[in-house]
Structure formats: structure tokens, C-alpha cells
Symmetry: C2
Subunit: 378 residues, 2 copies
Amino acid sequence: MGENHKKFEDLHRASGFINLNPLQRGGVLSDAARRVVPEWCDGYSVCDFCEGCLDRIKNPPVESFVHETLPEFLGTETARVTNGARESKFIVMHSLCEKGDCIVLDSNAHYTSYVAAERAGVEFFEVEKTGEPEYEILEDKYAEKIEGAKSKTGKPPKLALLTYPDGNYGNLPDAERVAKICHQYDVPLLLNCAYSVGRMPISAKKLGADFIVGSGHKSMAASGPVGVLGTSSEYAEVLFRKSEKYKIKEVELLGCTSRGLPIITLMASFPAVVERVKNWGEEVEKARKFSKQMENLGMQQMGQRPHNHDLMFFAAPIFFEISNRHKKGRFFLYKELKDRGIVGIKSGLTKHFKMSTYQLTGEEIERVVSAFTEISKL
Amino acid sequence: MGENHKKFEDLHRASGFINLNPLQRGGVLSDAARRVVPEWCDGYSVCDFCEGCLDRIKNPPVESFVHETLPEFLGTETARVTNGARESKFIVMHSLCEKGDCIVLDSNAHYTSYVAAERAGVEFFEVEKTGEPEYEILEDKYAEKIEGAKSKTGKPPKLALLTYPDGNYGNLPDAERVAKICHQYDVPLLLNCAYSVGRMPISAKKLGADFIVGSGHKSMAASGPVGVLGTSSEYAEVLFRKSEKYKIKEVELLGCTSRGLPIITLMASFPAVVERVKNWGEEVEKARKFSKQMENLGMQQMGQRPHNHDLMFFAAPIFFEISNRHKKGRFFLYKELKDRGIVGIKSGLTKHFKMSTYQLTGEEIERVVSAFTEISKL
């Protein structure tokens, strides 16, 4: 162990840039959360106040947050804080399914939905999407797929999953309709709302979902890794079953989950998150206006149109064309944007890329549009 | 959603106190880590630099940390960063065992070892401990228990687990001997080192362990939740198997784990952690001296004597006696210590309690001894 370890101390993240990465736009801490960080960033911190159940800590008010506020916010009867949306999904699959069971999911699902299914030893059947340019999930296909899964495996799927919206195109399918279809087959529905809970108004109850999963670091202005999981009282008994040996510890949560800054920042940002959700209409308008400006430059916004979410996917033949003659090749777009104070579009991409306008100010949007305009003229 | 959410914003942790809680003493951030917190506390942060594999990020140097530095530090061929020691243990059990398999563990194991086994659907056989006052795990009992498990279930245990040290008494069994015994039966050994990795010098290779688990927030000066998991190349293929659909994503890690401040603080504190491990001898001396001072006040230190770890368990009949006549009853000790600027002993305990002197300065130790002396005279 020598001097070369010094490199681990001096870690810097570029600051002062506009970050267009959809997974970063909703995770920026609120001012209130940022203020409490220094007091809570050591190790386990919250556990100072624990008498055996993290979610029963009264001060700081973890108990009322987890057991009252969060279920109300998610439109569920019960909720928990987890280590992330992917961990929430695994908890549901691992609780509901035995190895060899099957589930149905949309083909726009995040990779972690598939990997969680694989970890739970579960076979999956994919509801296909329509082709370019919409890449939409057609709700009625869930009936077909559930029947197909049943006839192929001899038993009904244990779970259906819908990504709401998906993380590529920002499409919002009719979740209520999917829930109705699934329930006709007695299949419970999980909504993966990693890009909606904390950004837009959403209620599991209104949509008829049995499970709702959210991401603290993606969309609830919290320091990662942290997620949320809401469900009905009925399913809570299955998901949050207690240990036989340790009567107060929940097996799927391994006793407790988010034991430090993540849950503290999730709580401290919450009032600001509640407020920003109210302005969702403006966020959608902002995205639509931006989409038009990008299309005026010769790009095409894929996915639902008019778009209903800040996460957008663009086909940009114009940038692909420039990359063929630019000295930086396919890295030119990343480089040119960075030179203009903008990051978050994956290095090396030109032809297709996704981005988000969430929580950008009018001035920032103008800077982004100007940058794309200038670059399109290279 | 109303005004009552404001309570989630104003979260404070008592500061300026000496915290004797063993699980907090090793989690205090290094100065270097504290410095980088403001830059990295938003959401996912590290993912700015990810091209699909978090553990392959080159800048910040996650790749060299995870794939070179950490295995060297743990004495293993390979390592990963996880969401915590409990999650590391579940990864091992879930990878090695089928439902209905069995494992052997020491009866000083942390509750999360049992809960992880329960989550993995695995039966456990406990290696009993000796009685008061040592509560020791006798190494040879592992042979007996492995044979017992085999004759009872008809198949050998898939795993043995040893807690090194345990979190109640701070006992350090002869892990090398346990490893030898387990290997005679072809049973791999997992060492739960949540209270040793990052505090004392330790090498899985030297001890002969197949898996080693550590805790970032408990003992590596990192912001929770974060853990480490090291193993051999042979077992790495099983534990860190890749997804069939997403070839670069590891199934048990659900793609990636610690995606934010936890891994950044783990890295930033690492050089300081390497240095403090070198001073382990002084920490043991400090604990032994403190133990003597407590015994001079009429308490008895349980567990191994002389003690080999900063985590100590005291029987304190003298405080129990005072609690019977103090107006605060059994809460008197917590109250009296807090009045003297000391926290971390569980509220309500008097007769028995655990605590740690890890990383306390000489002056702080003196304050703690004075406080206990004053309180013993009440």
C-alpha cells in the first residue's frame, strides 16, 4: 500500500456544466437537503436514533415519512425505502415468484428489470413495442402476452411489469388500461416509475397498480443509492414479511436498507419535490417547445408525439453527417457541447441520443438550444 | 400534501458529542472524504462517467480501486463494492445455495447473517458459544456442526460463516483454524469482517477464507450504505456471473450497486484507512487500558481477555443498582452521559452495554473515563 493511493483522495466532478443526462436531472439535491448533508454524511448516521427498526425512528421523523407521508405520496397503503428502484423490483419478484415462475414485462423495460428477473430465477415474456418512430407499448398486447405465457409454461405469470415512462423514449403508456387487463387475469401489476415518482403527479391507486417503484437518486432529489416501494396492505404482508428469528426485522429488506445520507436527503428534499410535482405541466410544455426547436434544426424526436415527459430521444442524422467529416469523429458532439458548458449526452453518440430538459431554467434552455444550433452548422 | 412536510427539511444530528457506538466509530469520514462530499452528493453523481459498467469507470479511478486496490487490501483475487455487508452476505448465499440447502454459522453472528440466510431460503446450523463471561466460539465445533448438518439434511452445508469479530463482544476467534476445518469438509468459509476490514490488518488469503465481507459505513470511513465483498477468481465466476441478456451486467449486483456518494467517500477515505490500520496495535492497547479503568469502577468486561478489539461489552451491576434509585430509572445512564457530552450507549441500558474506543483521542478517553467515574458515584 503506497503513495499511489493518494489518487483516491482528489476526486472532482465537473461543476458549472448544464447536465442533460435524464438520470441526473431529477437527482439534484434541494437546498434544504444540501444544507443537512454535512451533519449526516458520516457512515451510518441515522442509526444513532434507532431502537431496532430504522423505519420506526421518530426523530428524525423517519417513521412518519415512511409510514404516512410516502404511502400518501405514492397512492398506496404502505411503503418502504429501499436501496434503489432495481432493488425494489427484485424485492417484489423475489417475494412473489419461485424459481421457474414467469413474469410479463414491456420491451421498453430498463435493463435492471430483466436482471432482477434473472436474479430471481424467473422467465420473462416481453410485450413488444411498435417500430420507429414511436416505439410504443400497446396496452392490449398485455392480454395476448399473459395468455401466451400461460399456454407456454402451463401457469399464469406471477407478475406484470410496466415501465412508466421508459428510460429511452420517455413514453407514458396507458397504465390504467394495462392494470385493468392484468387484473382480468388476476396478475398483479408493478409500475416502474423511476422517471415519474418525484417528477410528475402519480398515484398507484388511481392507476390501479399493485406495486409502485420509484428512484430517490433519479427523480426524488436524493443522494443515491435510494429507492421507494409502495404496495397494498395485502401484498405488504408478503413483501415485508418478518424474520422468524428476529421478529421485528423484515427479511427482504435484510433488516434495514437505506441507513445514512440517502434516506436523510430523501426526506429533506421531499417538501421541494412535492412542490415541483405541481409544476409538471410546465415541464411538459418546456420539453415540447424544446423538441420543436430541435426538430427545426433537422432532428426528429422519437417516441410519443406530442411528448408527455421531459425525457426525449432524438434521431440526429445531421450530427451523424458532421461526425463523418469532423476531426473528432463520433466524439465531436460530446466535445463541442462540453466546450459550450454542456454535458450529459453520452460520449461517442451522434445519430441517436436521449436527454432531458427537467428543471432547466429558461436561460439554460436557451444556452442548450444555441449550442445545438451552432453545432448543427459546423 | 401540506405545511406539515416542512418538518422533513429541518433535520439535525447532535454534534460535538463523543459517540461510543461501535457502529459509528469507524464510519466517520476522513478529512479528504469530507472535502469531496459537496461535489458528489447529488443523486447518482458517479454515473456521469459511466459507459455501462460502474466498476470500469476510469476517472474517478473506480476501476483501479475495485479491481486492483481493494483485492490487494482484502487479500483476495477479486472484489466488488456492494450496498453493505449484509448485501454482500446475501449475494454469496444466494449464489451458492438453492432453497432448502443449509449453512453453518457461529452463534455470535450478526442478525443480518441469519436474515440473509432466511431470505435465501437456507436452513442454518449454529456453532454454539461458551457461556459467560467469554462467549467464545470454539473453532473445533465447526467440524461437529458440519457433520451434524450433513447427517441431519443428508447433504453437506454449502457455506460456513464466521463473524470476525462479532458485534456484541468483539471476540476474534482463530479464523485460520476454522478455515482449515471447513476446507477439510470442502465447505467454503465466509468471514464477516464488518468490524475488522478498515480497522485492523486482515487478509482473506492469510486466514484461508474464501469470501470476505466488509462494511464501508461501519469500518471504512465511508458514507452509507456501502460494503465490500472479496473472493477468489474461482468463486468470482459464480458470484459475479453476467446477465444472459445484458452481457456486461452482473446479475447479483443488479448491474451496479453503490452509485453515488458511498463509493466516492469509500475511495476518498481509503488512503486514511490504510494508514489507520497500521496503528491497530495502539487501538488494542487503548481498549485494554480503558477496560481496566472500567473494571476498577466495578464493571466487568465480557468476551476475550485480554481483549483484542476496540468493541467491548461490559456488565455493569453498579449502574443497574443506581438505576433502581435514580429518578430517571433505567434511562439514567443515557441521560447522565449525554449531560457530559457522551452518546452512543443505547438508551435504557444499564446492566450490560457495548461500546468502542476506536479512534478516540487520549483527551476524549479521559473525558469518557471521568464521566463513568462520576456517574458510578451517584
